[in-house]
Amino acid sequence: METNTYIESGILELYVFGKLTATEEREVLQNAAQYPEIKAELTRIEIAFEQYALSRGITPPPGTLTAILRRTGISSAAAAATPQTSGNVFSYLLAALTAISLLAAYYFYNLSNENNNKIIDKTEELTLLRTGCDEVKEINTQLKEEIKIINNIHTHSVLMNATGKYENTAAIAAIHYNVNDKVTWLDVRDLPAPPAGKQYQLWAIVDGKPVDMGVFDLIPDRDTSLQTVPYVAEAQAFAVTIEDIGGVENPTLEEMIVVGSLG
């Protein structure tokens, strides 16, 4: 049985209000006996409703209690010995002190709750700011690194423009070639995603012959578009072709998308 749905249906409230048929009432009592969570909820509803009914009480006319006692055969004298607290000074003081300390406890309890919540809020805020800071720092380091690479006097930057049947596309890429440090970086910022099943392959042209520099992927959502690629000595030009995944030995010339020559 889906006890939660049963509880949320409002049937327990109607039970407490006495609005169910005898059959329905038996069902509620059976369910309460079988499922502790239904029983617990029922008790909570009973308590809440009881408080409500007590709060809306209307004092009966005087003399009602006396009449009841008379009818049940209890003498008023016996009833007069009711368990009312006959307080002495000490018990008054004790009660007052207890009340004061409870009020104080309530006050400090609230205060400390409030402060705790504030601390939790601020801690969350701090964590968020810290994370943001770290991200900015990382991007900053990357960008600095790129500037260093591009600004190095030994770095030659080669722009590779769209060519062949791709001439009229916006495809463009760049190579930063450093003979001194024997390193090469590829900038793929403005290459479109390759067709499905295809991959870009980079080539260096040495003495008019293509030298494989490996396949590469575009890495989306990166804050930098630079990636290091193998260094090929004596390169005069660079080109990118679209090949089957994994690359090929010799470039498919009609699938050359960008090309650019050094100096």
């Binding site: 949320e8 249906s9 409002g10 049937i11 409230e13 109607l14 407490v16 209000f17 006495g18 609005k19 009592l29 006996a33 029922l42 008790t43 909570r44 509803i45 009973e46 308590i47 809440a48 409703f49 009881e50 408080q51 409500y52 009914a53 007590l54 709060s55 809306r56 009480g57 209307i58 004092t59 009966p60 006319p61 009602t64 209690l65 009449a67 009841i68 006692l69 009818r71 049940t72 209890i74 016996a78 009833a79 010995a81 009711t82 368990p83 607290t85 307080g87 008054y92 009660a95 007052a96 207890t98 009340a99 409870l102 009020l103 309530y106 309890y109």
Partner: protein, 198 residues
């Protein structure tokens, strides 16, 4: 659960065991704590003060004599007693001599939703009244129609102009809202109880 609930629970247990031992203190305690709430139930149905007083006496005599048949496992004492009160009041309205004289509903006008005419409100009750007073008007209304006015679900749906299913779901929401209000105050109530115990 809250202190006030525990306090209530132990008081209830005390009253129940006194009643079942047929100790007269139990009856007096019972009257002190529940007579106003039970009187409200009765007077809203019979609608005449002198009849309500008589029915209330019947109710207490019944509770006293049937206390052994009250089963703690089946629900709370107040739920059991309020059923006795309601049935006694309804039985009264069905009796011959009640019908012949029941032409006015003057009590209805002056009881209505107005709870302020009770002249002996102690501090605990007034604290509780304040809390309950914060309850949304439409929740007061649904409880009032279903419980105190003793309308059926479909009569309530008609009277309030809401779908039948809404009667059920609004009852649930009303009690939920009430519980939330009471929970917020659960720490203050025992303090009020102690203060009034002086």
């Amino acid at each position: 659960m809250s202190n006030s609930i525990q306090e209530k629970k132990s008081r209830e247990q005390e009253i129940v065991s006194l009643l079942q031992l047929q100790d007269s203190k139990g009856l007096v305690l019972l009257y002190e704590h529940y007579s106003s709430a039970l009187y409200h139930i009765v007077i809203r149905i019979v609608r005449r003060e002198e009849v309500a007083q008589e029915v209330l006496q019947d109710v207490f005599v019944k509770i006293w004599s049937q206390s052994k048949s009250y089963d703690v496992g089946k629900g709370r004492l107040f739920t059991w007693m309020s059923r006795i009160a309601k049935n006694a009041a309804i039985d009264k309205t069905r009796s011959k001599n009640f019908k012949s004289t029941n032409k006015t509903d003057s009590i209805e006008n002056f009881v209505g939703d107005n709870i302020s005419f009770s002249n002996s409100i102690n501090v605990k009750d007034s604290g509780l009244r304040k809390v309950v007073g914060q309850l949304d008007g439409k929740y007061h209304e649904i409880i009032d129609y279903l419980y105190f006015k003793d309308f059926t679900q479909s009569e309530t749906s008609e009277a309030l102009g809401i779908p039948l299913g809404t009667v059920k779901s609004r009852s649930r929401l009303a009690l939920k809202a009430l519980r939330k209000l009471l929970q917020n105050e659960q720490f203050l109530l025992p303090i009020l109880v102690i203060l009034t115990g002086l």
